[in-house]
Subunit: 200 residues, 2 copies
């Protein structure tokens, strides 16, 4: 496998995932599953934290309740895969990806809300792209089917964050802010993190 | 209405809720619904935080995934009631109950885990008791039926926290620690908080 293996359907992302990542992931499927479990739990946590922080934003609260529920469902499903493969649940050091993206979030409102929604959209878009790559290339048919199954709902999540951003901010403001954040996101992943992760 | 109005089926609780609370709640049903929404979201947050903190504790992670899912379902249902009554979502200052109980949690492990599970069990038990009182006394039949409907699953939650406590700790240790925590819990509520809340 060489070159670029991603689908062009992922908007938001400035650069597609390089083949080095999928090679690393396929050689470490168990570790990727364990990291994936952490990602789903963290994604539910992000949605819930936003619901805590903006309790008056009815559209945000409603949409993120749905996302948190889906992420918890996925968390449960990934954990069933871990069980089936005899992989114990446990901590796993996170790659620098999340912390470096969070460092881009401005601290004052309303910029903080805009940036948080866009960073979440980018993370969801990247997750969607990479789960799609696993669905496409995983040599174990059942596991590949599982990744394909997750994508149906994962695909919606970055759309939800995008729609929320354009609900609370002017579209031009959203698009102007997305560009530099998407650039940072792609730059972080331009160097493959040595430890296999969903966002290595 | 005078005297004691609670069911004796609630174990854990050292003292039943006094009638002053139900009178306060019935006179402020809209505010109680809004606070209830916050309680469900916070309960989901507590479960998720525990899953973050103890990622290797498989039984805890599995049980609390289920609880977080149910709390989010309830959160959604309570918010539909708010919608229907034209009550906007919004922040609401919490009563002292949660913070005062959290202050009882010891900071070192493994005591921290034991105390967190028992405080969660107590809060769930009290919520269950008080939702039961609302189901019993609410003059609006549909709303009363809603509270009754929630109780079926709420009833399990304090049991889950209790079972987790006895999974990770000796039963005698759990029981010895429960007694003083339950006493503090009842003492906090012995004086009715002037603002109507689920835990006023």
């Amino acid at each position: 496998m060489t070159g670029i293996v991603t689908s062009p359907s992922i908007r938001f992302l400035q650069r597609p995932t390089a083949s080095a990542w999928i090679e690393q992931a396929l050689a470490n499927l168990d570790l990727i599953l364990l990291d994936h479990s952490h990602c789903e739990r963290k994604a539910a946590g992000v949605a819930l934290n936003l619901m805590f922080r903006y309790p008056s934003y009815a559209k945000l609260v409603r949409a993120l309740t749905g996302i948190a529920q889906e992420e918890l469902d996925h968390f449960e499903q990934v954990n069933q895969w871990l069980d089936r493969r005899g992989i114990p649940l446990g901590p796993l050091p996170a790659p620098p990806y999340g912390a470096r993206l969070n460092a881009e979030i401005r601290r004052q409102e309303p910029e903080r809300l805009l940036d948080t929604l866009l960073v979440s959209a980018l993370i969801e878009a990247r997750s969607h792209e990479r789960l799609g790559l696993l669905a496409q290339h995983c040599p174990e048919p059942e596991l590949a089917a599982f990744y394909r199954g997750l994508m149906a709902s994962e695909a919606r999540h970055y759309g939800v964050y995008w729609v929320l951003a354009t609900t609370y901010f002017e579209r031009t403001v959203v698009q102007e802010r997305l560009a530099p954040l998407a650039q940072v996101e792609s730059e972080i992943l331009a160097t493959l993190h040595p430890k296999p992760r969903i966002h290595s």
